[in-house]
Protein backbone atom coordinates (compact mmCIF):
# COMPACT_ATOMS: atom_id res chain seq x y z
CA UNK A 1 0.00 0.00 0.00
CA UNK A 2 2.80 2.38 1.00
CA UNK A 3 4.78 1.42 -2.10
CA UNK A 4 1.71 1.97 -4.26
CA UNK A 5 1.25 5.51 -2.91
CA UNK A 6 4.86 6.33 -3.64
CA UNK A 7 4.47 5.18 -7.21
CA UNK A 8 1.41 7.37 -7.65
CA UNK A 9 3.32 10.37 -6.29
CA UNK A 10 6.16 9.73 -8.69
CA UNK A 11 3.79 9.46 -11.65
CA UNK A 12 2.01 12.66 -10.64
CA UNK A 13 5.31 14.44 -10.31
CA UNK A 14 6.42 13.29 -13.73
CA UNK A 15 3.11 14.40 -15.25
CA UNK A 16 3.52 17.79 -13.64
CA UNK A 17 6.99 18.11 -15.08
CA UNK A 18 5.81 17.08 -18.51
CA UNK A 19 3.00 19.60 -18.41
CA UNK A 20 5.25 22.37 -17.16
CA UNK A 21 8.15 21.85 -19.52
CA UNK A 22 6.60 23.45 -22.61
CA UNK A 23 5.92 26.60 -20.63
CA UNK A 24 9.52 26.95 -19.60
CA UNK A 25 10.71 26.01 -23.08
CA UNK A 26 8.67 28.76 -24.74
CA UNK A 27 10.78 31.67 -25.91
CA UNK A 28 9.85 35.03 -24.49
CA UNK A 29 8.06 37.45 -26.74
CA UNK A 30 7.34 41.16 -26.78
CA UNK A 31 4.82 43.11 -28.78
CA UNK A 32 4.24 46.69 -29.75
CA UNK A 33 1.77 48.44 -31.97
CA UNK A 34 1.97 51.29 -34.42
CA UNK A 35 -1.24 53.08 -35.19
CA UNK A 36 -0.75 54.25 -38.74
CA UNK A 37 -3.09 56.63 -40.53
CA UNK A 38 -3.24 58.04 -44.03
CA UNK A 39 -6.01 60.13 -45.54
CA UNK A 40 -6.40 59.14 -49.16
CA UNK A 41 -7.75 62.10 -51.11
CA UNK A 42 -9.13 62.25 -54.61
CA UNK A 43 -7.99 64.72 -57.19
CA UNK A 44 -7.12 65.47 -60.77
CA UNK A 45 -3.92 66.85 -62.19
CA UNK A 46 -2.78 67.99 -65.60
CA UNK A 47 0.77 67.98 -66.88
CA UNK A 48 2.37 68.89 -70.18
CA UNK A 49 4.77 66.52 -71.87
CA UNK A 50 7.00 66.98 -74.85
CA UNK A 51 5.62 65.26 -77.90
CA UNK A 52 8.15 63.45 -80.09
CA UNK A 53 6.99 65.51 -83.05
CA UNK A 54 6.97 68.86 -81.32
CA UNK A 55 9.32 71.30 -79.72
CA UNK A 56 10.95 70.38 -76.45
CA UNK A 57 8.97 71.87 -73.61
CA UNK A 58 10.55 73.69 -70.74
CA UNK A 59 9.62 72.16 -67.39
CA UNK A 60 8.03 69.21 -69.16
CA UNK A 61 6.16 66.87 -66.88
CA UNK A 62 4.75 69.71 -64.84
CA UNK A 63 1.61 71.80 -64.94
CA UNK A 64 3.56 74.98 -65.72
CA UNK A 65 5.53 74.28 -68.85
CA UNK A 66 6.90 76.60 -71.51
CA UNK A 67 6.79 76.19 -75.27
CA UNK A 68 9.18 78.17 -77.41
CA UNK A 69 8.42 78.44 -81.12
CA UNK A 70 11.73 80.16 -81.64
CA UNK A 71 12.01 82.56 -84.56
CA UNK A 72 9.13 82.19 -86.97
CA UNK A 73 8.53 83.66 -90.38
CA UNK A 74 6.47 83.02 -93.45
CA UNK A 75 9.39 81.76 -95.49
CA UNK A 76 12.47 81.39 -93.35
CA UNK A 77 13.75 78.40 -91.44
CA UNK A 78 11.87 77.20 -88.40
CA UNK A 79 13.01 75.62 -85.18
CA UNK A 80 13.01 71.85 -84.84
CA UNK A 81 9.55 70.59 -84.05
CA UNK A 82 7.86 73.55 -85.73
CA UNK A 83 6.21 73.19 -89.10
CA UNK A 84 4.57 75.70 -91.40
CA UNK A 85 1.13 74.46 -92.34
CA UNK A 86 0.00 77.29 -94.57
CA UNK A 87 1.12 80.51 -96.11
CA UNK A 88 -1.37 82.85 -97.72
CA UNK A 89 -1.32 86.45 -98.78
CA UNK A 90 -2.75 87.56 -95.47
CA UNK A 91 -1.25 85.20 -92.96
CA UNK A 92 0.77 82.11 -92.34
CA UNK A 93 0.46 79.40 -89.74
CA UNK A 94 3.12 77.55 -87.82
CA UNK A 95 2.39 74.46 -85.82
CA UNK A 96 3.88 72.37 -83.10
CA UNK A 97 2.50 69.53 -81.13
CA UNK A 98 2.54 69.04 -77.39
CA UNK A 99 1.11 66.40 -75.10
CA UNK A 100 -1.35 66.76 -72.27
CA UNK A 101 -1.63 64.08 -69.67
CA UNK A 102 -4.37 64.16 -67.07
CA UNK A 103 -4.16 61.98 -64.03
CA UNK A 104 -6.95 61.31 -61.62
CA UNK A 105 -7.12 59.45 -58.38
CA UNK A 106 -10.05 58.40 -56.25
CA UNK A 107 -12.66 59.71 -58.68
CA UNK A 108 -15.43 57.71 -60.28
CA UNK A 109 -14.56 59.07 -63.69
CA UNK A 110 -13.25 57.45 -66.86
CA UNK A 111 -12.74 60.50 -69.04
CA UNK A 112 -12.21 64.20 -68.80
CA UNK A 113 -12.99 67.33 -70.73
CA UNK A 114 -10.14 69.60 -71.68
CA UNK A 115 -10.66 73.30 -72.19
CA UNK A 116 -8.28 76.17 -72.81
CA UNK A 117 -8.33 79.92 -72.86
CA UNK A 118 -5.98 82.80 -73.32
CA UNK A 119 -4.79 84.36 -70.10
CA UNK A 120 -4.77 87.81 -71.69
CA UNK A 121 -5.38 89.52 -74.99
CA UNK A 122 -3.02 88.43 -77.73
CA UNK A 123 -0.47 90.74 -79.28
CA UNK A 124 -1.58 92.29 -82.49
CA UNK A 125 -1.45 90.05 -85.53
CA UNK A 126 -1.64 86.69 -83.76
CA UNK A 127 -4.25 84.04 -83.24
CA UNK A 128 -3.98 80.63 -81.65
CA UNK A 129 -5.81 77.41 -82.27
CA UNK A 130 -5.57 74.12 -80.50
CA UNK A 131 -6.76 71.18 -82.54
CA UNK A 132 -8.56 73.64 -84.78
CA UNK A 133 -10.37 75.43 -81.96
CA UNK A 134 -9.68 79.13 -81.85
CA UNK A 135 -8.66 80.32 -78.42
CA UNK A 136 -10.25 83.32 -76.80
CA UNK A 137 -10.30 84.94 -73.41
CA UNK A 138 -13.14 82.62 -72.42
CA UNK A 139 -12.81 78.86 -72.09
CA UNK A 140 -13.13 76.76 -75.24
CA UNK A 141 -13.57 73.01 -75.16
CA UNK A 142 -10.71 71.21 -76.85
CA UNK A 143 -11.60 67.60 -76.10
CA UNK A 144 -14.62 66.17 -74.35
CA UNK A 145 -13.88 62.50 -73.73
CA UNK A 146 -10.17 62.27 -73.20
CA UNK A 147 -8.59 59.27 -71.52
CA UNK A 148 -6.67 59.57 -68.27
CA UNK A 149 -3.08 58.63 -67.69
CA UNK A 150 -1.90 58.80 -71.29
CA UNK A 151 -0.19 61.52 -73.25
CA UNK A 152 -2.73 63.06 -75.60
CA UNK A 153 -1.10 65.04 -78.44
CA UNK A 154 -2.56 68.40 -79.33
CA UNK A 155 -1.70 70.62 -82.25
CA UNK A 156 -0.98 74.20 -81.40
CA UNK A 157 -1.37 76.46 -84.40
CA UNK A 158 -0.17 80.01 -84.38
CA UNK A 159 -1.49 82.12 -87.21
CA UNK A 160 0.43 85.29 -87.91
CA UNK A 161 -0.70 88.19 -90.02
CA UNK A 162 1.59 89.05 -92.87
CA UNK A 163 0.75 92.74 -92.51
CA UNK A 164 3.51 95.13 -91.63
CA UNK A 165 4.04 96.35 -88.08
CA UNK A 166 1.67 99.19 -87.37
CA UNK A 167 -0.65 98.10 -90.16
CA UNK A 168 -2.26 95.17 -88.37
CA UNK A 169 0.84 93.00 -88.38
CA UNK A 170 2.84 91.86 -85.35
CA UNK A 171 5.88 93.54 -83.94
CA UNK A 172 9.00 92.26 -85.60
CA UNK A 173 12.25 91.32 -83.94
CA UNK A 174 10.80 91.52 -80.47
CA UNK A 175 10.18 88.46 -78.32
CA UNK A 176 6.50 87.98 -77.77
CA UNK A 177 4.82 85.74 -75.28
CA UNK A 178 1.40 84.70 -74.25
CA UNK A 179 -0.08 82.34 -71.69
CA UNK A 180 -2.72 79.71 -72.33
CA UNK A 181 -4.58 78.29 -69.38
CA UNK A 182 -5.85 74.72 -69.57
CA UNK A 183 -8.44 73.03 -67.45
CA UNK A 184 -9.30 69.36 -67.21
CA UNK A 185 -12.68 68.51 -65.74
CA UNK A 186 -13.63 64.97 -64.77
CA UNK A 187 -16.65 63.64 -66.64
Amino acid sequence: MKKHSAQIRIILALMALLCASPVFAQNPTATGVINGTLINKNGIALIFDTDPGGVTLGAAGTSAATLDFGAISAFGPLAPGVTRTSVTAVNYTVRTVFDVQVIQGGLNSNTYTLSAQLASALPTGFSFKIDGVTLANGASNIQTNAAYNVDVPHNLDLTVSTAAPGAGGPAVGTPLSTVINFQASAN
Partner: protein, 190 residues
Protein backbone atom coordinates in the same frame (compact mmCIF):
# COMPACT_ATOMS: atom_id res chain seq x y z
CA UNK B 1 20.85 35.22 62.20
CA UNK B 2 21.17 38.84 61.57
CA UNK B 3 23.30 38.20 58.56
CA UNK B 4 20.83 35.74 57.06
CA UNK B 5 17.98 38.21 57.52
CA UNK B 6 19.99 40.78 55.66
CA UNK B 7 20.75 38.30 52.88
CA UNK B 8 17.08 37.35 52.60
CA UNK B 9 16.13 40.96 52.34
CA UNK B 10 18.70 41.55 49.64
CA UNK B 11 17.47 38.56 47.63
CA UNK B 12 13.83 39.59 47.89
CA UNK B 13 14.68 43.13 46.89
CA UNK B 14 16.65 41.92 43.88
CA UNK B 15 13.85 39.59 42.80
CA UNK B 16 11.32 42.39 43.09
CA UNK B 17 13.56 44.73 41.10
CA UNK B 18 13.91 42.17 38.33
CA UNK B 19 10.15 41.65 38.25
CA UNK B 20 9.53 45.37 38.00
CA UNK B 21 12.13 45.73 35.29
CA UNK B 22 10.57 42.92 33.35
CA UNK B 23 7.13 44.43 33.67
CA UNK B 24 8.41 47.86 32.63
CA UNK B 25 10.19 46.62 29.55
CA UNK B 26 7.26 44.52 28.38
CA UNK B 27 9.27 41.39 28.14
CA UNK B 28 7.00 38.45 28.04
CA UNK B 29 7.84 35.20 29.30
CA UNK B 30 6.59 33.67 26.02
CA UNK B 31 8.56 33.78 22.77
CA UNK B 32 7.91 32.80 19.19
CA UNK B 33 10.02 32.52 16.14
CA UNK B 34 9.04 32.60 12.45
CA UNK B 35 10.59 31.81 9.16
CA UNK B 36 9.51 33.25 5.85
CA UNK B 37 10.32 31.13 2.87
CA UNK B 38 10.75 33.07 -0.34
CA UNK B 39 10.02 31.29 -3.59
CA UNK B 40 10.37 32.77 -7.03
CA UNK B 41 11.17 31.88 -10.56
CA UNK B 42 13.18 34.18 -12.74
CA UNK B 43 12.04 34.05 -16.33
CA UNK B 44 13.62 35.42 -19.42
CA UNK B 45 11.81 38.38 -20.90
CA UNK B 46 12.20 40.82 -23.73
CA UNK B 47 10.65 44.20 -24.46
CA UNK B 48 9.93 46.13 -27.62
CA UNK B 49 9.63 49.88 -28.03
CA UNK B 50 9.40 52.20 -31.00
CA UNK B 51 11.65 55.23 -31.25
CA UNK B 52 12.01 58.15 -33.62
CA UNK B 53 14.82 57.61 -36.07
CA UNK B 54 17.75 60.02 -35.65
CA UNK B 55 16.76 61.53 -39.01
CA UNK B 56 13.29 62.39 -37.76
CA UNK B 57 11.81 65.43 -39.43
CA UNK B 58 13.55 64.93 -42.73
CA UNK B 59 11.83 63.39 -45.71
CA UNK B 60 10.95 59.79 -44.99
CA UNK B 61 11.21 60.09 -41.22
CA UNK B 62 8.05 61.34 -39.57
CA UNK B 63 7.89 61.74 -35.80
CA UNK B 64 6.03 59.14 -33.81
CA UNK B 65 3.51 60.12 -31.21
CA UNK B 66 4.36 58.64 -27.83
CA UNK B 67 7.84 57.47 -28.89
CA UNK B 68 9.82 55.29 -26.55
CA UNK B 69 6.83 53.09 -25.84
CA UNK B 70 5.30 50.04 -27.40
CA UNK B 71 2.15 51.88 -28.46
CA UNK B 72 2.87 54.72 -30.82
CA UNK B 73 1.13 56.64 -33.58
CA UNK B 74 2.38 57.44 -37.03
CA UNK B 75 0.44 60.07 -38.96
CA UNK B 76 1.20 60.03 -42.67
CA UNK B 77 -1.03 63.01 -43.39
CA UNK B 78 -3.13 63.10 -46.52
CA UNK B 79 -2.16 62.29 -50.06
CA UNK B 80 -3.57 61.61 -53.48
CA UNK B 81 -2.35 60.15 -56.73
CA UNK B 82 -2.67 63.19 -59.00
CA UNK B 83 -0.08 65.85 -58.83
CA UNK B 84 2.07 64.01 -56.28
CA UNK B 85 -0.08 65.64 -53.63
CA UNK B 86 0.87 64.99 -50.02
CA UNK B 87 0.25 67.23 -47.07
CA UNK B 88 3.01 65.96 -44.83
CA UNK B 89 6.50 67.35 -45.28
CA UNK B 90 8.12 64.36 -43.60
CA UNK B 91 6.63 61.50 -45.60
CA UNK B 92 8.37 60.11 -48.62
CA UNK B 93 5.90 60.27 -51.52
CA UNK B 94 6.37 58.44 -54.80
CA UNK B 95 4.44 56.96 -57.65
CA UNK B 96 4.85 53.21 -57.92
CA UNK B 97 4.19 51.95 -61.39
CA UNK B 98 1.56 53.63 -63.48
CA UNK B 99 -1.33 53.63 -61.07
CA UNK B 100 -0.15 53.48 -57.46
CA UNK B 101 1.21 56.08 -55.14
CA UNK B 102 3.12 55.35 -51.99
CA UNK B 103 3.77 57.25 -48.82
CA UNK B 104 6.31 55.95 -46.38
CA UNK B 105 8.06 56.83 -43.18
CA UNK B 106 10.78 55.10 -41.20
CA UNK B 107 11.16 54.58 -37.46
CA UNK B 108 13.29 52.49 -35.15
CA UNK B 109 12.40 49.30 -33.32
CA UNK B 110 14.38 48.56 -30.19
CA UNK B 111 14.18 45.15 -28.53
CA UNK B 112 15.98 44.51 -25.26
CA UNK B 113 16.37 41.32 -23.26
CA UNK B 114 16.61 40.48 -19.60
CA UNK B 115 17.72 37.28 -17.92
CA UNK B 116 18.11 35.69 -21.26
CA UNK B 117 20.91 34.00 -23.08
CA UNK B 118 19.06 34.39 -26.34
CA UNK B 119 21.53 35.64 -28.95
CA UNK B 120 18.99 37.26 -31.24
CA UNK B 121 15.32 37.67 -31.95
CA UNK B 122 12.88 37.32 -34.78
CA UNK B 123 10.65 40.20 -35.80
CA UNK B 124 7.24 39.89 -37.39
CA UNK B 125 4.30 42.19 -38.00
CA UNK B 126 0.61 41.98 -38.71
CA UNK B 127 -2.05 44.53 -39.58
CA UNK B 128 -5.29 44.68 -37.66
CA UNK B 129 -7.88 44.68 -40.41
CA UNK B 130 -8.09 43.86 -44.07
CA UNK B 131 -7.37 47.08 -45.97
CA UNK B 132 -9.67 48.30 -48.76
CA UNK B 133 -9.10 46.83 -52.19
CA UNK B 134 -5.97 48.17 -53.87
CA UNK B 135 -4.45 49.42 -50.66
CA UNK B 136 -1.33 47.67 -49.40
CA UNK B 137 0.49 48.17 -46.12
CA UNK B 138 4.12 47.11 -46.11
CA UNK B 139 7.15 47.12 -43.88
CA UNK B 140 10.41 47.37 -45.78
CA UNK B 141 8.66 46.28 -48.98
CA UNK B 142 7.13 43.22 -47.31
CA UNK B 143 3.34 43.24 -47.61
CA UNK B 144 1.43 42.67 -44.39
CA UNK B 145 -1.89 40.94 -43.85
CA UNK B 146 -4.39 40.61 -41.06
CA UNK B 147 -4.45 36.80 -41.04
CA UNK B 148 -1.03 35.96 -39.68
CA UNK B 149 2.21 37.55 -38.63
CA UNK B 150 4.59 38.13 -41.50
CA UNK B 151 8.25 37.60 -40.71
CA UNK B 152 10.36 40.69 -41.20
CA UNK B 153 13.70 39.57 -39.76
CA UNK B 154 15.14 36.32 -38.46
CA UNK B 155 18.28 37.41 -36.62
CA UNK B 156 18.01 40.87 -35.13
CA UNK B 157 20.34 41.93 -32.34
CA UNK B 158 19.14 43.03 -28.94
CA UNK B 159 19.79 46.57 -27.84
CA UNK B 160 20.39 47.85 -31.33
CA UNK B 161 17.78 49.97 -33.10
CA UNK B 162 16.41 48.37 -36.22
CA UNK B 163 15.10 50.90 -38.72
CA UNK B 164 11.85 49.89 -40.37
CA UNK B 165 9.91 51.73 -43.03
CA UNK B 166 6.15 51.70 -43.06
CA UNK B 167 4.77 52.04 -46.57
CA UNK B 168 1.21 52.50 -47.72
CA UNK B 169 0.52 51.94 -51.39
CA UNK B 170 -2.77 53.20 -52.79
CA UNK B 171 -4.06 52.69 -56.31
CA UNK B 172 -5.47 55.68 -58.11
CA UNK B 173 -8.97 54.19 -58.21
CA UNK B 174 -9.32 54.01 -54.43
CA UNK B 175 -12.06 56.40 -53.30
CA UNK B 176 -11.16 59.14 -50.89
CA UNK B 177 -11.22 57.85 -47.36
CA UNK B 178 -9.30 57.51 -44.14
CA UNK B 179 -6.93 54.57 -44.21
CA UNK B 180 -5.78 53.32 -40.86
CA UNK B 181 -4.27 50.20 -39.41
CA UNK B 182 -2.90 49.08 -36.11
CA UNK B 183 0.27 47.23 -36.95
CA UNK B 184 1.35 44.78 -34.29
CA UNK B 185 5.02 43.97 -34.12
CA UNK B 186 6.05 40.70 -32.50
CA UNK B 187 9.59 40.05 -31.32
CA UNK B 188 10.37 36.46 -30.42
CA UNK B 189 13.60 35.40 -28.77
CA UNK B 190 15.67 32.90 -30.71
Amino acid sequence: MKVSSINGLVLRTAALALLMLAAASGVSAQASSAQLSINLTVQSSISLVFNDNPNVGSVGFCPLTNPGTNNVGLDLGSASFPGNFHSSTCVDYAHVGASFYQVSSAFDVLVTKSNSSSPSYRLAAQISTAPPANVVWLINNIPLNNVAFTTLDLLDSYGRPVTKTLQVQVRNNVPAQLLQETITFLATAN
